[in-house]
Amino acid sequence: MLVNRKLILAHFWLAFAVFGIALTLGAWQMFIRSPIGTWLSNPELYYRSLTAHGTVMGYVFPTLVAMGFGYAISEAALQQRLVGVRWAWAGFWLIVIGSIMAVIPIALGRASVLYTFYPPLIGNVFYYLGVVLVVVGSWIWVALMSVNLRIWRKAHPGAPVPLAMFANVAGSYLWAWTAVGAALELLLQIIPVAAGLKNTIDAGLARIFFSWTLHAIVYFWLMPTYIAYYTIVPRAIGGRVYSDTMARISFILFLVVAMPIGMHHTFADPQVGAGFKFIHSAFTALVTLPTFLTVFTICASVEIAARLRGGRGLFGWITALPWDNPMMLALAFSFVMLGFGGAGGLINMSYQLDTSIHNTQWITGHFHLIFGGAIVIMYFAIAYDLWPHLTGRELVDLRLIRTQLWLWFVGMIVTTFPWHWVGILGMPRRMAYFDFGDPAIAPQALSVTLSAIGGFILLASGIMFIVILARGMRAPQADAGANRFALAVHQPATVPVALNTHALWVALMIGLTLTNYGYPILNLALSEGTSVPAVYVGAQ
């Protein structure tokens, strides 16, 4: 039951429109600093583009997808009309206004600070205010998800919350808390400086606040993908979820351990004590658990589908899978990219191994493979699955959809594998220009060229994706039936209260944030002489 289709479609269309723009900028960036592009002679234009790419891809695009998907889940899984539709539209418009407000200073070259802000670099105040509005808009969604679940609970006392909604609300709580770090950085530190009230800033403290957001935000991006793994894929390929409990435990673990681990981004920062870096590193290792649980459960769920289709043998069942089904294809691609990206991530989180790849192109390759690859390909899958329900029309050209998914997968591998490689060779990230005529880096020219070609494959795939969705809006009308989520092998009749509510896990999330972040933040906030003069973009 999807009543507020317009609301959900608006979120998806805005998400994919800004995604298309940012993707184009990304491909241009790959090209312009590769040996095949002629250097611009102005690095500022490159950083301008990079800031826009990161801001859209990091803040606007995934947030809108999570919100749109969240509203759809709330209506379809709970089988009740969304409460607070006006608030939802208000949140949407806040994001629209915030995005425009942020993009104007970027386009004018007044906020080329990259989406990670990098104080003491300070851009135009409207850039930061725009980002704040985007976050505030998304917090409205968090509140609405909580309110809608509460209303459902009142009407169904003691009943198990449908898995999709349980996970969706977990994702929204994770976002609410993780965004607090960047919000504190913006409101207490950056915006007063950008507005001219102060002209020094504690850059070290700002980096700690940002690390609070920076890692868990990835798990917020990941939530829709994991929800799709558990609740869309098994149904779409004719199987069942192997274990509902395992799924709940995975989402709970994400909620608890995604937060207190962000300092593995600051291993090279002198203002953080080595003991805290070790604790964060150890907790980062824990975050592999929910992913391993998920990979196991989803492989088992897929095997169920294969055996129902007559698959036999230890591995022979793999051939019985519906490989022409886009959902199956997207899942397989997503898992392959998650596997490689996750393995790279284990290197990043190791205190010692990180030193060899810290701040190199390896990192850029890593997060593009995980986010742009494993996560975004499932966003495509989510859109393909929901589109017929949202538009009342059929997506007819499955071949085109498969081609699009293939291109995205191949493009992402071609882009990110050479990227990792040049990172190991020591090529730094965030550089606008490389002189490939220099004998020291001339051998890397081939890898960087390959990577840029991958960027264009991705651009082609992205355009196809938008074309498929646009054509879907004009296709002949067809009834897609009810929008259902996958059922478990053993559908839960009752669920222990700990696995049916979020309170305990939110409390643990906040508690671990206090233990792992409390002292480093207080130490820097209360120490004298830790601030440095701000460097204003474009000012003398």
Partner: protein
């Protein structure tokens, strides 16, 4: 079961989850704060508390490291983007009177005829810093140092504001504009040289960095050579010395010739 019963020790989920996470935290904390600090044979700790404080990042005064004797003075100036940003008309007027003694080298309109820097329209923070450095001896020059040594803080600020207020005029002998050389626009990433233009104009300007358009070629060349040879050392954190040392003589000549050939009216306005 209600949420209230969730947070009780009789609930095994509560007991198990809190217990497990507390145990993980305690174990990792013991490893990170006690075991690993002592596992470093090259670091000595007085006691366990000392090791814990070190691992927690408590700011500590270095115990017995003797700071090397500084034979030459370093710059003591702290600049922010707001240094001297809103001068009064009185300050500019006082600066104009004081500037009469500067005119013999820096020109009556702030444009030099003697290979000294052109000061008309130079950023106030730049003049402020250099005058301070001449006064303290962080930068020395046979001609400039005696002028600067008796200036008060107020006089330095007034002079800086006055020159910053003057219009940027063309150089005394303008030369045809040269194209941008690589060192200005690309730098040399493999040698750790940022583009000149990323601080000194053409691409961007940074606090404390002078704009260079239309300045004397001989002067700029001499300063780069002085930085390279460590003769001039009032740059903060050796920024310019590191760049100049890595530059080739040809690059020094190209950069100086390029900036000297640019008209100063292309310099971005100060915000």
């Amino acid at each position: 079961m209600s949420t209230r019963e969730l947070f009780t020790l009789t609930n095994r989920h509560f007991k198990a989850s809190v217990g497990i996470f507390a145990a993980i935290f305690v174990v990792t904390a013991i490893a990170g704060f006690i075991v690993l600090p002592f596992a470093q044979p090259w670091v000595q700790f007085a006691n366990v508390w000392d090791a814990i404080c070190s691992a927690a990042g408590v700011p500590q005064r270095a115990a017995s490291v003797a700071t090397p004797e500084q034979s030459k003075r370093l710059s003591e100036v702290v600049l922010t983007s707001n240094t001297l940003s809103r001068p009064s008309q009185e300050a500019i007027g006082r600066g104009a009177t004081l500037a009469q003694r500067c005119a013999i080298c820096h020109g009556p309109t702030g444009v030099s005829r003697a290979d000294s820097p052109n000061l008309a329209g130079q950023y106030a923070a730049v003049i402020y810093k250099e005058l301070h450095d001449f006064r303290t001896g962080a930068r020395t020059n046979a001609v400039m140092s005696p002028f600067a040594v008796n200036l008060t803080d107020q006089e330095i600020a007034d002079l800086s504001n006055y020159y910053a207020d003057l219009p940027r005029l063309p150089a005394y002998h303008p030369t045809p504009q040269l194209p941008k050389p690589n060192i200005v626009i690309y730098g040399a990433p493999m040698r750790g040289i940022a583009p000149c233009g990323s601080c000194h104009g053409s691409l961007d300007n940074k606090t404390g960095s002078p704009w260079l358009e239309g300045q004397s070629e001989a002067y700029m060349k001499a300063q780069l050579q002085a930085f390279a040879s460590d003769e001039r050392r009032n740059d903060i954190s050796q920024q310019m010395r590191n760049v100049a040392r890595a530059m080739t003589p040809q690059e020094i000549e190209q950069a100086a010739a390029y900036y000297a050939s640019q008209p100063p009216d292309i310099v971005k306005a100060v915000d």
